[in-house]
Symmetry: C2
């Protein structure tokens, strides 16, 4: 029998118990053994739950039970979750988690301890909910260098942007709808400001490039400044506004990470990712572009990802290898404003800007359009700094710039 | 050192050698060992190739070399490829393949032999080219029952349909373009008639449901009857025509498999899969809908999938478990014409059909439209047989029906 303990009986923790109950036969066939939820650690009791008899309040009971081999950390938060994870790994128990805050902040340390102790620390559910993106990078892309990743990694913001575009609702209205549906927290800051997407792209970059960039050093722009007008402009550029979290390998070991609203071309499959769905496009050496799409959050999808990690640990045995990464040196992160890329630029007429004069600054531009208020155009192979410098040189200081994802 | 042999130095075989050369350091880091292409079996010599010294013409040299642990079968065809694969597995060597014909026809037998001999027979590259769909089903979806799969599994037909829609070229013109670009064979029958997609969906169904349906028993419809008019009609239904290969679990252990041109709703991410790209949407118990998108063919993407299998075998060791499946009993396959689903129906006026009378046969219909020649509507929860019976009851015998993928 394989005994597991669940830390935190919230949405994901309860989902893990439910998936184990609902798919008990299938999981047991997979692992050639019987899986059993021996303990559920929570501050509360759950007298009505069918798992009431497994609820404990003292982590030491779990830690000191040699029968518990795998611990699911689905508590959220960082302080206690990190402490329990560290103690579990140090005691030779494998840990699986959906807790992106802990992975982004302490993943390197925890992976190292797991490696040293010959156990595993797996975190598939921390990025993309149910989408099996981390395992795909680790296994199926093993022969590929990864050049870059572009992801829609936050369901709440994607829901808001989808409904602004499709229904013409304002940002505030769409956010309020998302809150009513339970997609957004009452305090939506972490979603709306891009922090959640930022954590996830840092985890993806750590796995793909072997180096963890601290979230706090990333230039992270959310969607609160996106208006219906922005969305209309994006359509004129032939795309949709999406909150894109990107990580790219640059020349000389530098890494570029950004989270920002981008214009995604209608030709790109990311443009068709609606509502709370997430998708991650990987640009790989031999494989080319590969995208995974699915539910980036939710009780059962996330629990399904936790279970895939549990099954991997049981099937591959304790001795299987724990990946780890380094912590990036200062200077590894590129300055976003200096990175060369393709940008959509919109200049309003209101301050006297003349189209011919502006376009003449940039050489080859494509997809230009004019509307009543101004004009838009796309420039390839330029940086945000160079755009600013060029426009400032003719005193154009009122303009908008979005990265363009072809 | 891990020595491998490549059988067949065509596009994929040469791709495997090239990926190993280009990513030698990365692969060696992954496997903690050195990978070496010891032999390349082909009828021809390749005096100009940098691998010329590894080319052999006698399979027995490979079979009798105890240093060769893994054989890549990238020959194509079934007879010799099957024979060599069987002999390799029987001799205790693992085999990885991109050969969908062999997997579809003899996969069960070969998996059984591999299992018996404690080696592996892996075939990631046989479905979806570089897209890591089989490994995802086996690992990340391990806790999920799979309810169904809808895939765009053939790049050639998707290229043709994309260009018919986007450029208004006829089927014949688009096919000729695909041949010029090397996407379609000179004899395009296997692609255009849906046989290639059919093989792949049978392999996917075998892995997902544990039962292999014989390709010859599947009702397989290609795209040769799709015209520009069909494509226009699909747009009026709010979608695009795509060649969809589907497999679904039905009640009572039955399985429904079909390959047919379907109207894919613009809301569905499969509708945005263009050119030679492939995509596979899986409907899973806990995870919900998850889609993988990428290059379904090509030298390096396919070779990358072959390498992922080689790396899996080396990392997991010989003793790891070979999955296998059963061969479906007669009667397991549903009769497509009796399966309840959602259909787009178009009835021309030419034979005197009256819209009100036709619609009154079907109860609730949605998304109806009229054009100069006739009218279209969508009916849910109905079978092809029932549609035919209803229309025949009022002497409407000239109509078109497409499955609708929401």
């Amino acid at each position: 029998m394989k005994n597991i303990a669940i830390l935190g009986f919230g949405t994901v923790g309860a989902g893990v118990a439910d998936v184990i109950a609902a798919s008990h036969n299938k999981i047991c066939r997979e692992i050639h053994d019987v899986v059993n939820v021996k303990y559920i650690l929570d501050l509360k009791d759950f007298p009505e739950s069918k798992y009431a008899d497994r609820v404990v309040h003292d982590f030491d009971i779990i830690l000191n039970d040699p029968e518990v081999e795998i611990i699911c950390e689905t508590m959220g938060g960082t302080k206690v979750a990190f402490d329990y994870t560290m103690r579990a790994l140090s005691a030779g128990k494998s840990v699986v988690t959906s807790n992106k805050e802990v992975v982004a902040a302490y993943g390197k340390l925890l992976c190292d301890v797991a490696r040293e102790k010959g156990v595993r620390y797996l975190y598939e559910a921390s990025v993309g909910g149910g989408i099996p993106i981390l395992r795909t990078i680790k296994t199926s892309l093993a022969a590929n260098e990864i050049y870059g990743i572009d992801g829609i990694l936050n369901g709440t913001t994607n829901y808001i942007l989808t409904h602004m575009k499709d229904d013409g609702t304002s940002f505030a209205e769409a956010l309020s709808q998302a809150q009513q549906k339970g997609y957004a927290e009452l305090n939506p800051k972490a979603d709306v400001d891009g922090d959640d997407a930022c954590r996830k792209i840092c985890i993806l970059a750590a796995l793909a490039f072997g180096t963890m960039i601290s979230q706090s050093s990333v230039n992270c722009e959310g969607i609160s400044s996106v208006t219906l007008d922005t969305i209309e402009k994006a359509e004129k550029f032939g795309g949709s506004i999406k909150l894109i979290a990107s990580a790219r390998k640059m020349k000389g070991e530098k890494i570029d990470i950004s989270v920002s609203p981008c214009v995604v071309s209608n030709e790109n499959p990311l443009s068709n990712v609606s509502d709370v769905f997430n998708a991650i496009m990987i640009h790989a050496q031999h494989l080319g572009d590969v995208m995974m799409y699915g539910r980036g959050a939710g009780k059962l999808p996330t629990a399904s990802a936790v279970l895939s990690d549990i099954i991997e640990i049981i099937k591959s045995g304790k001795g299987s290898e724990q990946e780890t990464w380094t912590i990036a040196d200062p200077g590894t992160l590129s300055d976003n404003f200096k990175v060369f890329d393709t940008f959509c630029i919109y200049v309003p007429y209101s301050f006297g800007a003349r189209k011919e004069k502006v376009l003449s600054l940039f050489g080859n531009t494509t997809e230009s359009f004019e509307d009543a208020d101004g004009f838009g155009f796309i420039v390839e192979n330029i940086s945000r700094n160079k755009i600013r410098k060029a426009l400032h040189s003719i005193d154009v200081k009122d303009y908008s710039v979005f990265r363009y994802i072809k």
